[in-house]
């Protein structure tokens, strides 16, 4: 198995706050990997850093063996001795849309579907980089088959959808571009257990049948670990544990991190 995504000691700061401190992890081709941790641990920040929505201040990110973001030792690039305020990091770093173009799709936290657009239009946006109309149409049909509830509501504005439906739409939208790597940020957030289960089953199918590598962030540790091959545990911007999911499920520390057992 080759490393599809290789993150090497990246840091991210919000002003004076260090959200990520030299985090390293990797995702192999074909895996489902989960990242669990309490709220505010820095999980979402990590996903945003991968897709360049947050600039990294240290380290590098490689995807398919190619660097998509890298910071040299000096940190911020300077021009005439003055730090350029426009962007930290090197200009060779890819932009969010370029990373999307390489087959990385992120399902953002809180769904972030385009509320004023219909279900169908949301899917169209997911396939923005696909130029083949026939392929788009076929993909859409696949999605409607896969998530029948979306098919039934294809002409509806997405603001009228329930939370679970919106989550499915967000996943379907990400899948429209036929990504190789699917990043999911808290897919279970605010959803009823039955719906969460449904969504994780779908994730499984996507991984197994479409050969999509999945990296997911979840605070519902139990369900995330059950759904994944491997897992990382994050606390305060640092990876504190990494193991096969089955092992992590048994790990007392994980229970402690969630329920304060000590």
């Amino acid at each position: 198995m080759s490393k599809l995504l290789d993150i090497d000691s990246i840091s991210v700061s919000y002003g004076s706050i260090k959200a990520l401190r030299e985090v390293s992890l990797h995702v192999n081709e074909g895996e489902i990997v989960c990242l669990i941790g309490a709220n505010g641990a820095g999980k979402s920040t990590l996903l945003k850093a991968i897709v360049a929505l947050e600039p990294i201040t240290h380290g590098s990110i490689a995807y398919q063996g190619q660097m998509i973001a890298q910071i040299d030792e000096n940190g911020a690039k300077k021009k005439f001795g003055v730090p350029i305020r426009r962007s930290k990091g090197l200009s060779s770093n890819l932009r969010t849309d370029e990373i999307a173009g390489r087959g990385v799709a992120l399902v953002p936290e809180g769904r972030r579907v385009f509320a004023d657009m219909t279900v169908e239009e949301n899917l169209d946006m997911g396939a923005f980089l696909v130029r083949d109309d026939e392929l788009i149409a076929r993909k859409k049909e696949e999605m409607y088959d896969f998530f029948p509830i979306l098919g039934a509501r294809r002409k509806q504005k997405t603001r009228s959808l329930s939370g679970g439906e919106q989550q499915m739409l967000a996943i379907a939208r990400a899948l429209m571009s036929s990504p190789r790597l699917l990043l999911l940020d808290e897919p279970g957030l605010g959803l009823a257990p039955l719906i969460i289960q449904d969504i994780f089953e779908k994730i499984h199918i996507i991984n197994r049948e479409d050969k999509v590598t999945v990296f997911l962030v979840e605070q519902n540790a139990s369900i995330a670990l059950k759904a994944s091959n491997r897992g990382y545990v994050m606390e305060n911007g640092v990876i504190v544990l990494s193991d096969f999911s089955t092992n992590l499920l048994e790990n007392e520390k994980v229970r402690a991190a969630y329920l304060g057992d000590s």
Partner: protein
């Protein structure tokens, strides 16, 4: 009588019910924890109790008085102070000034008009007022050992200190009850430990503390009583030990164990 309680408090945004028929009680002198998974409605409940949001139905009582639709500044003046999940400091003001804003309504004339006139007409008073406020503000900064940073801009403080400063600012309003929204979020374990001590010290000042927190270690350690919300509903209430072994709570947090 409870110091503060809500009866059948419901808050719906359009069709989404964030808080549903919640009865929540705060007993005087205790540290009350409010926990639940993300999106369970904890912050919404806080907002409805502190006047930043108005409930769709239900009531909020403080010391027996109905404060349901009161505006935030009035509720604060009655003795309810709070901090915010995503720290809301006055970033361009200094540390000292942040605390002084907390002292604002406690000092001098009580009406806004009076205050404007006082500032305009009595120059000496401005200095007197300043010195008075300075003194009590420093006292609160010392409480958090922040006095050496008093002239820094709030935005330049490290994260942990920002959290502390926010609490100091809330305490400066001289509250009966203090709401803390995720005070430990983003803190490292040692910072969390000192926070725990701080919260106990605040309780020892005779201030009732209510906190939302995800860090279970902290919650289980310092709370006298815990209320658990899930999907906007109050699913459990009790001592830390009771909560820890409540199957509904375990399910809410770890997901249902499949059998």
């Amino acid at each position: 009588m409870m110091l503060l309680e809500t009866t059948k408090l419901t808050r719906a945004y359009g069709g989404v019910v964030a808080v549903s028929q919640v009865d929540f009680q705060v007993r005087e002198g205790l540290i009350t924890g409010l926990i639940g998974p993300n999106g369970a409605g904890k912050t919404t409940l806080f907002n409805n109790m502190t006047g930043l949001d108005t409930p769709t139905s239900g009531k909020v009582y403080f010391k027996g008085a109905d404060i349901t639709n009161r505006s935030a500044h009035k509720i604060c003046r009655m003795g309810i102070a709070r901090t915010f999940q995503n720290i809301r400091l006055f970033k361009e003001l200094s540390v000292l000034e942040n605390v002084m804003v907390g002292l604002h309504f406690k000092t001098g004339k009580s009406s806004t008009t009076g205050r404007v006139m006082a500032a305009f007409l009595s120059y000496l008073k401005v200095v007197d007022e300043y010195e008075l406020m300075n003194e009590s503000a420093i006292k609160w900064l010392e409480f958090f050992q922040l006095e050496s940073l008093k002239d820094e801009l709030a935005k330049n403080l490290p994260y942990g200190h920002q959290r502390e400063l926010e609490i100091a600012r809330a305490l400066a309003t001289d509250p009966t009850i203090l709401f803390l929204d995720e005070p430990a979020a983003g803190m490292n374990p040692s910072e969390t430990d000192s926070l725990m001590k701080t919260i106990r010290r605040i309780r020892d000042l005779g201030i009732t503390v209510v906190l939302i927190e995800h860090d279970m270690k902290l919650v289980m350690n310092i709370c006298d009583t815990i209320t658990v919300l899930n999907y906007g509903q109050n699913i459990a209430q009790g001592t830390p030990a009771e909560i820890r072994h409540n199957p509904k709570v375990v399910e809410a947090y770890l997901g249902k164990e499949e059998t």
